[in-house]
Amino acid sequence: MEKKLYTVTVYSENQVGLLNQVTIVFTRRQVNIESLTVSRSAIPGVHKFTITAETDEDTISKIVRQIERRIDILKAFYYTDDEIIFQEVALYKVSTETLLDNNEVEKMVRKYNARILEVTRDYSVIEQSGHTEEIEALYEELKPSGILQFVRSGRVAITKSIEEKVSAFLEEVEARRCGSEEML
């Protein structure tokens, strides 16, 4: 099966130890997590994991179902890049001397829509957000001038659907809760 980069979003309750429960599913199937970001979602109390991994669709669909099987997971989905809007952020530290002596850096900052966050006597920090390729491209261009430190975040992604994709599920669940209370 064809391998590609999938983005998995996992909606969970806010419980201790959930990250481990999510990652062990990947480990068991020998799939490397490329990036992972955890944050709150637009729904109060619901946390959201955004995970990218390179694998085939059969494997990712099984991973998603096995993640969903964990008790404290509300719902999990997987997407290909065309189904989501996504972004990463990177920080590049270069020496201020390079920045001052070399007008190439300024050109690059403009070209990539990057911005300079801090300038000190010794170093300057450039921030760039975009897709992996854009971040990598700026990295390659800055490299000859010398990069002192570099870090790139995990992917954050939202779907092209209007609400959080878990909303419909939560409505269903609420109906179930009312049902279970009526039974008492």
Binding site: S12, E13, V16, G17, N20, Q21, I24, R28, S61, K62, R65, Q66, E68, R69, I71, D72, I73, L74, L170, V173, R176, R177, S180, E181, M183, L184
Partner: protein, 564 residues
Amino acid sequence: MISGAEALMRCFKEEKVDTIFGYPGGFIIPAFDALYSYQDVFKFILTRHEQGAIHAAQGYARVSGKPGLVMVTSGPAATNIVTGAADAMMDSTPLVIITGQSTVAQLGTDSFQETDVIGITQPVTKWSYQVRRAEDLPWAVARAFYIAREGRPGPVVLDISKDAQVQMLDFHYEPCRFIRSYQPYPQPDTSAMREAAALINAAERPLAVVGQGVQLGHAIQELYAFLEKADIPAASTLMGLSIMDENYPLNMGMVGMHGNVAPNRQTNACDVLIAIGMRFSDRVTGNIQSYAPQAKIIHLDIDPSEINKNVKVDVAIVADVKTSLPALTALVNKAKHQDWIASFAPYRQQEYDEVISKDLHPQHTALSMAEVLKCLSDTSGEKATLVADVGQNQMISARYFSASPQRQFIASGGLGTMGFGFPAAIGAALGNPEAETYAVCGDGGIQMTIQELGTILQYQMPVKLIILNNSYLGMVRQWQELFWQERYSSTPMVNPDFVKIAQAYGIAAASVEKRENLQAAIQEMVAHQGPYLLEVKVEQHGLVYPMIPAGSPISHIILGKDKA
């Protein structure tokens, strides 16, 4: 205000617990102290090892349908229950496992008997949670029982810090009836149901494969109604053996590696395969590419993550079979499949001629394992539980013990845990005291948990232990003989005198080796009041047939050595 430990006991009472299996230790002393005042409420079974406690709880849960409750201390006790938890996870057995834990202040400091129980047990449990404050106990226990029991059952661990046991709380118990993130009973999709019915109505050669889900869902009558309306022959998995009576006309036997020839062969001849509450284990499917490639496959299961996990299916009905089977029955037409059903008979005859009759009437003087199990099956009562260990003893038990809802066959199916059988039988005897309880073990497996003879002694439990002694780790020896050029690496065993061991525990015992004495020996064991150990010295080189070699297509059935 009451202590957390006292609250724990009250929670158990609220959950109608009657039996607890376990072993005390440092960080669970407060809970055991509270238990001291509840001796009239709960029967506590002190096993001789924590592994014994959890397997006993599994046996209890498997026959009673209620969650088995285990209470042990932290550290080594918690790691000793891991095998049982993994086993229960694979075989969908409801368990609530209480482990003690160090004080909250000591967590993460490598303090005495502190271990990362949550980290260790998360991969092998349905839910694993650490309770750090007494006030969280009622909530956590209620949730634990709910999760263990509802939907597809499974083991749950509650790791309770010493602080939570000794702190005081205002006790109020609210049983758990709902968890937002867990839907135990998904509703079947009606369009999938219609598609399934259409496939079944058009089928000429339908075959049902029945797994433990039917038993867990209490859907045996619903299964019969379905099979009978559409006249569908059915086979069962190892875990589903206690569902259909051996003599039920539509029961075609067991599928799988050592299953019956007819249902294995016909799996690859049917046109529609209806999998009911089973998970397409590799022991059932053999080589997955050549598993029923000709058939449309319908899968009924409560767990959505089982769908398309091993075998790609055409229609999936995700629901409790208790709900989905009657709904499906309403949609299927009455049908007759006489010719198809009759086509199983020649294979059944072939298996009888080439395997069963040889097993039951061997040409050599040594007893075969099959003779022993057939005799036990014929001699034991209408209500009986047979708990097998793992290996040849298990497969022979599955093949020759006539199981039914009143005569349950229990074994470690998914994990294949040697040492499971004997302690699980102790739990089974407590979970279903009306049934005679037999543990069938090999000489290898029994020695993995033989210390539980002490438990039998202490509580005088009427468990009958049959040791099939061939002085080998027989199943591995079988593989070595058939596939590893008879290189018997580490499979011969030098064994103790099992009868003397039983005698040391004050347990009645006998050993039998000769055919003419077998029946009398088994009759004596069955008739004996109280625990009993019967060692049967069987042929050393016995083999279990039929056999589908691991990874082979299920059509590749070996019926005997000359045919290999």
